[in-house]
Amino acid sequence: MCLGIPGRITEVERCDGLRTGTVDFGGVRKQVCLAYTPDAGPGDYVIVHVGFAISVVDPDEAARTLAVLRAMDGVLEQELGP
């Protein structure tokens, strides 16, 4: 359920009393409602679902997960040899 994809906020504005902004998804830009991510600003990545940012991506957590996975791969490589 619930297609959500990460994009980078490039602009924040108010429109009809709502916090909205432009989010860039790898070259595709869309107006998105930012009312539920009141602290996110330009440069932040948000997860967008049906035109709403529902979550701010935490870059440290993202890096940590990947580091764990890469470490796992490193362990494997070591085990299997070069």
């Binding site: 619930c2 994809i5 998804f25 070259g27 595709v28 830009r29 869309k30 967008v48």
Partner: protein, 351 residues
């Protein structure tokens, strides 16, 4: 007010009210195929073309091998980054001729115009038809114009037909793919469809992508010069996208195909738009690339020839023909899944 009678048929598709043309019948997918095979061809009866559905028909007149093709263009918007309905109508028909090794000799163009279209728009489209035809080196020899009342058309439809002369030395056909053939793709996919989708009401997004609309007959001429009769099948993956084109060739040839998902050239903004809408780039329309099924021993030469031309500069090998079975895709994680014909229109998903 409405009471749905539980005793009424529970299978919705057999109800008479479904016996109408749906938008999906024009999608280039399974519904389109059904419409052609179950309504249009049986209707034509003895006048209908035989054999597999080709991009262009071979007609022999007084010993000349000629190709004939037609397409109707109904794109909304009329003008878009990378092209417009006029250029598209020229490129599409030139390309359909080219997919059977036809060099364009003459085009016809018919306009169906909605009352109220600004004359500047019509002039601009006509100029684009003229410029695209001149660039492709083919004259527009005749035409027709009809005007229909307000609300009886969506501004402008352009319908072209093309007459081609078959290049000597090759005879690609939809039924020509053979096991072992290499599948080549001339360039990135999805650009045209995403460009057009980006303007749709309710989906509106901005992107850096432009339609890939362009003529491919010179590319095909070079491919045939390099590959000769080893160029077994060609198709331009327009409506229904790469998935439809490959499935159609596989079905007409009675072979299977295995593509490598990681090898498919999908530009970043196309991928982004597809992620956003929940659709698969392999189902998105193209107007300036082709997929070729080439004998393995000629594949490298053909690929080199493709890359030597601007319209084939990004050509890649995307898979191979197998003995039979469905069209499969090797997924990123190394599994395989069927890449089927799309059913009907691509609708954006929420999940």
């Amino acid at each position: 007010m409405t009471i749905v009678d539980p005793a009424a048929g529970s299978c919705p598709v057999l109800l008479p009210e479904s016996e109408r043309v749906l938008l999906g019948h024009g999608s280039g997918g399974r519904l389109s195929a059904e419409l052609i095979s179950e309504v249009l061809l049986p209707g034509l009866g003895p006048a209908a073309p035989g054999g597999p559905l080709e991009d262009a028909a071979l007609v022999t007149v007084g010993g000349c091998e000629l190709l004939l093709s037609t397409d109707a263009y109904v794109v909304d918007p009329l003008f878009f980054p990378g092209g417009d309905i006029g250029a598209l109508a020229v490129h599409g028909t030139v390309n359909d001729l080219a997919m059977r090794a036809g060099l364009p000799v003459a085009l016809t163009v018919a306009y169906v115009v909605e009352e109220g279209l600004p004359l500047t728009d019509l002039r601009r489209v006509a100029a684009s038809v003229g410029a695209a035809a001149a660039a492709a080196g083919v004259p527009v020899v005749t035409g027709d114009t009809k005007v229909v009342g307000r609300g009886a058309a969506d501004r402008l439809f352009v319908i072209t037909a093309g007459l081609g002369r078959r290049l000597p030395g090759a005879a690609p056909t939809a039924a020509g793919a053979r096991p072992g053939d290499v599948v080549l793709l001339s360039g990135p996919i999805g650009c045209h469809g995403v460009t057009v989708l980006s303007t749709r009401e309710g989906l509106g997004f901005e992107s850096d992508v432009a339609s890939d609309s362009k003529p491919l007959h010179r590319l095909v001429a070079d491919m045939i010069a390099a590959g000769g009769t080893g160029v077994h099948a060609l198709r331009d993956p327009t409506r229904g996208g790469l998935a439809a084109a490959v499935n159609e060739i596989a079905a007409a040839s009675g072979v299977g195909v295995e593509l490598v998902e990681a090898a498919l050239p999908v530009p970043e903004p196309v991928r982004a738009a597809c992620e956003m809408l929940g659709i698969d780039p392999a189902y998105v329309a193209n107007e300036g690339c082709l997929v070729a099924f080439v004998a393995p021993e000629r594949a490298d030469a053909v690929l080199t020839a493709m890359r030597a031309r601007p319209e084939g500069a990004a050509a890649v090998r995307i898979g191979a023909v197998t003995d039979g079975g469905p069209v499969l895709v090797r997924t990123m994680v190394g599994a395989r899944r069927v890449l089927d014909l799309p059913l009907g229109e691509q609708l954006p998903r929420i999940c």
